[in-house]
Amino acid sequence: MAIKTEPFVLNIGPVHPSTHGVFRMRATLDGEVIIDMEPIFGYLHRGIEKLAEERTYTGVIPLTDRLDYIASMSNNLAYVLAVEKLVGIPVPERAEYLRVIMAELQRIAAYLIAVGAFLNECGAFFTPFLYMFREREKIIDLFEMVSGQRLLYNYMRVGGVSQDIPEEFLPALDKFVREMPGFIDEYDRLLAENEILLARAKGVGILTKEMAINCSVSGPVLRASGVKWDIRKADPYSIYDRFEFEIPTGEVGDCYDRYRVRIEEMRQSLRIIEQAMEQIPSGTVKSEVPYLIRPPAGEAYAHIETPKGELGFYLVSDNSIAPYRCHIRAPSLMNLTVLREMVIGWKIQDAIIIFGSIDITVGEVDR
């Protein structure tokens, strides 16, 4: 006897502890199983692309900080590379190395939050999250030494970086790079074979390779589905071609693979930082750039590999001091295209885990 059950609409709404900010899922449920889900954005749409059109090229840098606010060094790097491609300013060697070190440190900090929040949603209530915040505080101390800010650094400038590093930065960085693998192994021992995580994350929310490519997903989510695509290797920007590191990829593309890819990439980032620390030359950190940059009319697109995926800036200039158009290719928005297909058919608690494993920041989704 089949009893007809009626669907029931539930808002996993803007004010929710596990939606990584103000993101809303309007889910149609049958009991606990999600029949259909509509993602709703716009609760943090500050119109950054419109604001960028009324600021000078250097004035847009603080705006890019607030895009993906847990990886603001990477946002600065992407925007600055786009402007340098547009204007064609050479960047001194030392500044290139500093940029790579800061971008990789920021990748580790962002992955720590991503994995911590993912485990927080798996039910490990705040224990791994606080472990990982303990390490993130160390990285924040390094950033505070360099830029004086804890979260939104505004550190990079067109043509280099804003100021040189203090002399106690490199010893502190060396101490961090020596200690960090021990901590990452500590998390791995705590979590990799944890049967609760295996039971809840293995085989949950499988993203096939074709769907990932078709939905223009990028970053750890794409690599976890088995696609070996990392812009640091495919289209090496600044000086990434001088370091050797691998690109970890998952096999099946479920939540556990995404967790594994992020843990492996933390180790690879540490390798890059070590190599960069050895080869860093001395010298100036910022090339001569006029105060009001006035690029020739034209357009340029530069993309880098941020902890969320491929962040790109498409700049159009009409030879004035402000960008005519500044479009931001947000990896978090693209990664959410697959959320609906991956979530339908699973229960609510699995949907929360799948959403957590994609790891978005709403500041970048809504811009």
């Binding site: 749409h45 419109k50 769907m211 693209m334």
Partner: protein, 146 residues
């Protein structure tokens, strides 16, 4: 290294496929008519040696007397990319064919362009505002928005 295909080579290939669909092709991008956009994208995706299976981004720029919609495709296998552009001239109701059938990743980006720039994409299954609320008047990213 992603090799940015020059617009001229691809234009030559596309010319004999779809005569008269390419308006102009400069060094790094390719301007096509908006009517033939759908089958150009179809051809770019299906032809073996081009094989653009990854859509980087779609964006739109308001040049006062026309809107320009910019697509960038990348091929993960051949590691090359191409920038394709179309223009639509009327400002009241600019329309461009939607390529959601080919690249599902275009879904949210087209909704965003419709929401912020006002260009509607016919053929899009779920075209409504993505960032702003339904009753919002006007499209903020247009140059003549207050």
């Amino acid at each position: 290294m992603i090799l940015a295909l020059s617009g001229k080579e691809v234009a030559a290939q596309l010319e004999q496929q779809f005569p008269g669909s390419i308006i102009e092709s400069s060094e790094n991008n390719l301007l096509a008519k908006s009517e033939s956009l759908l089958d150009i994208a179809e051809y770019l995706k299906s032809s073996p040696e081009l094989d653009f299976d990854y859509l980087n981004y779609i964006t739109a720029v308001d040049y006062y007397d026309y809107f320009e919609v910019v697509y960038q495709f990348t091929s993960l296998k051949h590691n090359h990319s191409l920038v394709l552009k179309t223009r639509c001239y009327d400002r009241e109701n600019p329309t461009v064919p939607s390529i959601v059938r080919l690249y599902q990743g275009a879904d949210f980006q087209e909704r965003e362009i419709y929401d912020l720039m006002g260009i509607s994409f016919n053929g899009h299954p779920n075209l409504k505002r993505i960032f702003l609320w339904e009753g919002f008047h006007g499209h903020p990213l247009r140059k003549d928005y207050l």
